[in-house]
């Protein structure tokens, strides 16, 4: 796990909870917590980051919850613990924001397939269902068209979403949910769309991590908590260079840049 700065306990601090990074932390999604924390700190907004490992009680009073991607076995264990605790359910009822990545998105839906392909009940917080489909695993750069988030304060533009997807299964949005965007390159949900939004819960297949590659999405989530007017501009020069490069790479279907014959011979 990336280490986060010690933050003081403070009623006015934005409270961010990373849920079960020990079970759902396989794909680098822990970085989303660091991105959110820094983008608040840099704007002078206090933040408190709490890591909840499996077996520990889930607080229900935080502002934002992060659920990451993981392997099939731990995914089932995480669902079991979250269902028992009901802490996340209460938090959502209280209006908390949730970002759920990949396996995290799948278990927040109504149903998802386990390691054997058996459909299991999910947490039912995100209005979607994930089913197993007979196709190769979706692995590669994922790029969407311009994404939008509809909020009570109006529509927030998120720009193109870029990231890396690595999943089986197809996610079908329910009638109470929206999708984030249409897919330009990659698989996404599996029906030419990417991401699921139900209320203030956002699910996506994007790793990278998602918020490191898509700062407007990070700011939109934070805007739900502290108001969009607090989301003053930051220096995103490094991120802009990365986005330009990855968007081009996705369009070029460039998975292995400058791979030479020597590479192939070196490591079969």
């Amino acid at each position: 796990m990336t280490s986060l700065p010690a933050t003081r306990l403070n009623d006015s601090a934005v409270r961010i909870v990373s849920l079960y990074p020990d079970l759902l932390g396989t794909y680098g999604d822990g970085g989303n917590a660091l991105v959110l924390s820094r983008r608040l700190e840099w704007r002078g907004i206090a933040v408190e980051h709490i890591t909840v490992d499996a077996g520990e009680p889930v607080p229900d009073s935080a502002d934002l919850y992060l659920v990451g991607g993981g392997e099939d076995g731990p995914q089932v264990q995480a669902t079991r613990e979250l269902e028992q605790s009901q802490g996340l359910h209460r938090a959502v009822d209280n209006g908390a924001v949730v970002l759920a990545i990949c396996a995290g998105m799948q278990i927040l839906g109504h149903r998802f397939p386990d390691a054997n392909g058996t459909s299991r009940p999910g947490l039912g917080l995100l209005d979607c269902e994930t089913i197993r489909v007979e196709r190769p695993r979706a692995v590669g750069e994922l790029l969407t068209t311009s994404a939008q988030l509809t909020t009570p304060e109006g529509i927030i533009e998120l720009g193109q979403l870029t990231g890396f997807e690595n999943h089986a299964g197809r996610t079908i949005p329910g009638s109470r949910s929206q999708t984030l965007a249409a897919v330009e390159v990659g698989e996404g949900n599996g029906d030419e769309t990417e991401g699921i939004i139900t209320g203030k819960i956002v699910g996506t297949y994007l790793h990278g991590p998602a918020l490191a590659r898509n700062p407007l999405l990070a700011d939109a989530l934070l805007g739900w908590i502290v108001g969009t007017s607090a989301m003053t501009p930051l220096d995103d020069t490094d991120v802009d260079s990365l986005r330009t490069e990855r968007i081009q790479a996705a369009r070029d279907h460039e998975l292995a840049p400058r791979r030479s014959w020597r590479d192939i011979l070196r490591r079969s």
Partner: protein, 430 residues
């Protein structure tokens, strides 16, 4: 199956190869030679492939008359293979594939040129343990660790552990040397009849929180680990590394090693455990370890123009966790290079699992094909950094930095293919 020593090697008599196998070896060597002549590479992999096309049982034949030991892991397999070769080499002739071609073709190429009875010390890719074990009937198997690596192309680590478990059940070696601090490795090794458990205090446990046996939760404490749902727990150890001291068979080994860092003491503990299980005298084996100064260019201090650089390799979060031990002390600038080619894994999201903050105030130049991913990671880590296009311009930027110390080599820490590129720059593997 291999409980008794191989009768052929016990009498020192080698079975001569069948004509088909001899042809396969000759063809492989010719292709490898051609490949070297046209400067395609070392040619070992392509040569081995050609040999296997002609005789697909060649690995069985090439190992029929020799002792075989297999070393596998996510991290440390090349180093441990080199250390074990050196330790065993003090008492018997050995052959090894320690240059890193660690699947069947590379192994076949390495063995094809060796004496038929030399002990084979084989580094084996995690995914190839099953087939190499079946082909060679290895009498000793050393299993170091399993952690996340190249998730876009390998199986989940739990599935690898399961493959190992089945392989050890199907073709049980005489001895398995296994890491008692890694629940995934432990679970796999428990399928073997005879295990030497090594405890070295593994610090990276992020991939083992879910029990491989029952998918319950594993509880880690300073004293060890145990599943909270089933009876899988840390076995009591036969070989221990505590505060840099290796305790084995009632002896304590305190001598220095030429290789730096805690991680190499860990690798040395496994090499000693395996050498001892194979009958080598401990003091003699330890002397052998000290002869190893670099492994395929890792830790090498090399000349780049008129600047000295030190090459470090770290391929994944667990590897970086160990490498950062060497990088967190000094205050001089350093260079970090990240690629994301096939052999690296296409998704460098794992950079966010690495606590680069441990670098502290050091000035870092990010290079490699994924330098912008690094730069974003450093930006959010509040790490003082800049991006450069290649190693040459990175070195120039380091030399211009006020914290540069020309009396010290510049650390260049890279992942796999970036490291290979830099190694080629400074003259390749010697």
């Amino acid at each position: 199956m291999t409980a008794a020593p191989n009768p052929a090697s016990a009498t020192g008599r080698a079975k001569s190869l069948r004509p088909r196998a001899r042809l396969a070896v000759a063809a492989g060597r010719f292709v490898a030679w051609t490949s070297r002549v046209v400067q395609f590479g070392t040619g070992s992999v392509i040569g081995g492939r050609v040999s296997l096309l002609i005789d697909r049982n060649l690995l069985s034949e090439l190992t029929a008359s020799r002792d075989v030991v297999i070393v596998s892991a996510t991290n440390g397999k090349t180093t441990t293979t080199k250390l074990l070769s050196s330790a065993l080499g003090t008492s018997r002739p050995i052959v090894s594939n320690w240059l890193g071609a660690n699947m069947t073709p590379g192994i076949v190429a390495a063995l094809a040129t060796a004496n038929a009875t030399d002990t084979a010390v084989l580094e084996v890719d995690e995914r190839w343990v099953d087939s190499v074990l079946r082909a060679t009937n290895a009498n000793t198997v050393v299993l170091l660790n399993l952690s996340r690596d190249q998730l876009d192309r390998t199986q989940e680590v739990r599935k690898l552990a399961e493959q190992w478990r089945i392989a050890l059940k199907t073709t049980p070696p005489r001895t398995v040397v296994a890491n008692a601090d890694d629940p995934l490795v432990t679970w796999a090794a428990l399928a073997a009849p005879n295990v030497v458990w090594v405890g070295t205090g593994q610090e990276w446990t992020a991939d083992a929180a879910g029990c491989p046996a029952c998918s319950g939760r594993i509880d880690f404490t300073d004293a060890g680990w145990a599943c909270t749902a089933c009876d899988l727990r840390r076995p009591s150890v036969d070989v221990a590394l505590t505060n840099g001291v290796i305790a084995i068979n009632g002896k304590t080994m305190t001598g220095e090693l030429a290789l730096p860092g805690r991680v190499n003491r860990v690798n040395a503990a496994f090499a000693l455990a395996a050498a001892s299980a194979m009958g080598t005298d401990l003091d003699q084996a330890f002397d052998g370890l000290d002869d190893v100064r670099e492994i395929a260019g890792r830790y090498r201090v090399a000349q780049f123009g008129d600047t000295r650089i030190r090459l470090l390799l770290a391929k994944n979060p667990a590897g970086w966790h160990e490498a950062l031990e060497l990088l967190e002390g000094p205050s001089t600038p350093l260079i970090i290079a990240i690629n994301a080619r096939i052999a690296d894994g296409h998704d460098p999201s794992w950079l966010w699992d690495v606590a680069y903050e441990r670098i502290g105030q050091r000035f870092v130049v990010a290079i490699g094909e994924r330098r912008h991913d690094l730069a974003v990671r450093f930006r959010y880590g509040n790490i003082n950094h800049i991006v450069a296009d290649d190693l040459e311009s990175a070195i120039e930027l380091v030399r211009q930095s006020p914290s540069y110390d020309p009396t010290l080599p510049i650390d260049v820490a890279s992942n796999y293919t970036a490291f290979q590129d830099h190694l080629e720059h400074v003259g390749g593997v010697l």
